[in-house]
């Protein structure tokens, strides 16, 4: 039997019989991705763009219904720009910068995320997850037209997996019966309840938070609510212990009520009961339509390791956080960004497979940072003891009057890219007086450059960025191509670039990885040092 577990927002890749199902001998592919959510699709896109043949297996034929993830961070948009689908997301998404925090009927304070000037992308956009996935899929189609070896197989469900030293065997169910497939590498992107993880008997331990949240996405045209993030602690309208209101495209608003642990889900999800909460919040005479509703609970947890031999896990299948801070999908995209180039180099025989262990090093470090931040936000939003509740309300009360208490108000620490300070791939940080924000391990900060922006010019390969110093027009480190971008910061139009990459230094040379993280930096170009750092960043030292 092959039944859908959920209904689709967009049917994108209907089941089609593949040649593998009729092959006399089992076909082996370099990479098989399991799961067609945002992380699986993005993994296929990243690898395919590198020319690495990839087969994606999804047990559905497209994108599931429901807005789910809605906040996409600047770093995600920067990565999507590299893939070619950032503009579509930005055009459809709702840009927002201002957030307000309320307690009861009082505003505690407001914040503005408006980033400093000189970035191609805003701090955040709101966009329903189905659109985010659809834009990635459309970019996959675009890359396929250009010859990228990406194949997506709908209604292909992995039912059994066996992992060996140099390959993985997958038993795949389809509407026309099962077949067997082999892969040199498997990337598991099949979500928080990952069947793949279960089939391999791998644990997923962590902390359960005893609270439920009711999401209602409503369509309303209202001028009463601006494009801002509004968060209430203990709201006067009593529709939840906390409530979030946030705008999405197409006049859709996300409302998220904290409704307690011990709830009758079926009862709470009845339209009349959802409407009772919404009416109390919006005032009785506002017209709206409920387009999606759901009750969720969450855990903060991760796998002990994300690499298990030939199988690698990314996104929610590897780590799960609370939604406060938008650290779920955004961190998953950073996983893909980190794993993509490493797996690409390994498959093409340019880097040793030990490079993949640094995916564990770097992304487990990131997952722990995300879990810590989202756990703290959860503790603040849903205090678990009387004294914790007392302190929380003390902070909110003080924050109205005193600036010092405002940084303690925690309605979610919004996703920012992780800095891989202790990564084994890091080369020398040999730029005295260089800016802290572009230190080795950090993701490159954007800045205006020529008619465009810096990040757009760094591309998908290793790059050397040279400011006010000579570099060769191209560099080849063995079989690793390294592009060069040389800039003379001659006038004030380079102010942002100078501030972010030079600081007090007169000149600088940055070695930048394919995921646009800094691998090393120096005052001037030293060919031997750049070669050594490039090899180190590929796990070849």
């Amino acid at each position: 039997m092959f039944e859908d577990r959920y209904s689709l927002a967009f049917k994108l890749y209907p089941y089609k019989r593949s040649a593998d199902q009729d092959a006399d001998t089992v076909v082996r592919h370099p990479v098989v991705v399991v799961g067609g959510g945002p992380i699986g699709l993005a993994t296929a896109l990243d690898l395919g763009r590198q020319g690495v043949p990839v087969v994606l297996l999804d047990d559905h034929e497209g994108v599931g219904m429901g807005s789910r993830a809605i906040c996409f961070a600047k770093r995600t948009l920067d990565i999507a720009d590299r893939w070619g689908c950032g503009t579509a997301m930005l055009d459809k998404g709702v840009v927002w910068n201002v957030g307000r925090v309320f307690q009861d009927d009082r505003q505690v304070f407001e914040f503005n995320l408006q980033p400093e000037e000189g970035h191609a992308n805003p701090a955040f956009i709101n966009l329903q997850q189905p659109f985010f996935e659809k834009f990635i899929f459309e970019q996959i189609c675009e890359e396929q037209r250009k010859g990228a070896p990406i194949e997506i197989r709908g209604k292909n469900r992995v039912d059994h997996v066996a992992s060996f030293d140099d390959h993985v065997v997958l038993e795949v169910a389809t509407p026309e019966g099962p077949y067997t497939l082999e892969a040199e590498w498997v990337v598991g992107c099949d979500g928080a309840s990952s069947p793949l993880r279960g089939m391999l008997g791998l644990g997923f331990e962590g902390r359960v938070f005893e609270d439920s949240f009711l999401i209602a996405d409503i369509k309303m045209t209202s001028d009463d609510f601006p494009t801002e993030r509004w968060f209430w602690f203990e709201p006067y309208f009593k529709s939840g212990a906390s409530t979030l209101l946030h705008k999405q495209p197409d006049d859709i608003w996300r409302v998220d009520f904290q409704i307690g642990w011990d709830v009758d889900r079926a009862e709470e999800l009845k339209e009349e009961n959802i409407r009772r909460r919404l009416d109390a919040m919006l005032g009785g005479d506002v017209e709206y339509e409920i387009v999606w509703s759901s009750i969720y609970t969450f855990q903060c947890r991760r796998m002990e390791k994300f690499r298990h031999g030939r199988v690698l896990f990314a996104g929610d299948s590897a780590h799960q956080v609370s939604p406060f801070g938008a650290r779920g999908a955004n961190s998953g995209i950073q996983d893909v960004d980190n794993l993509g180039w490493k797996l690409g180099l390994v498959v093409r025989g340019i880097a040793p497979e030990q490079l993949l262990d640094t995916y564990d090093d770097e992304r487990i470090f990131a997952a722990d940072e995300n879990i810590l931040n989202s756990t703290r936000a959860t503790e603040f939003i849903t205090p678990k003891s009387k004294v914790s509740h007392t302190f929380r309300n003390a902070v909110l009360k003080l924050a109205e009057q005193h600036a010092f208490a405002r940084p303690m108000v925690n309605s979610g620490r919004l996703s920012v890219p992780c800095v891989y300070d202790a990564s084994p791939l890091n080369g020398p940080d040999d730029l005295p007086d260089g800016p802290e924000q572009t230190r080795v391990g950090s993701s490159c900060k954007d800045a205006p450059l020529g008619d465009g922006f810096l990040l757009q010019q760094l591309g998908d390969d290793f790059a050397v960025l040279a400011l006010n110093t000579e570099v060769p027009t191209s560099i080849q480190v063995g079989d690793i191509p390294v592009r060069t971008v040389a800039v003379a910061t001659s006038d004030e139009s380079f102010g942002a670039l100078s501030e972010r990459y030079l600081g007090a230094a007169k000149s600088a040379v940055y070695l930048i990885r394919p995921d646009q993280h800094v691998a090393g930096r120096w005052s001037t170009f030293d060919e031997t040092a750049v070669h050594a750092a490039t090899l180190k960043a590929c796990g070849r030292d």
Binding site: N373, R376, E379, F380, S385, K386, V387, S388, F391, V395, L398, Q401, H402, A403, F404, R406, P407, M408, N410, R413
Partner: protein
């Protein structure tokens, strides 16, 4: 004259807040209340300046 600092003055408020809540873990309400009282006295002694402490008493009302 010394003045009460009311602008943000901690490198990582989130770290402090987490430690504060963790310090109360496993305590009964009465034990937490007593702990808070001791904490206030310890911090007050560290501040020392009576003028600053008076301002703090007003700011917390």
């Amino acid at each position: 004259m010394a003045k009460l600092i009311t602008h943000p003055n901690m490198a990582s408020p989130d770290d402090f807040y987490a430690d504060l809540i963790a310090a109360h873990e496993g305590k009964s309400d009465a034990e937490s209340e007593a702990f808070n009282a001791r904490l206030i006295l310890v911090l007050a002694n560290h501040i020392g300046d009576q003028a600053v402490l008076k301002e703090a008493l007003v700011a917390s009302q």
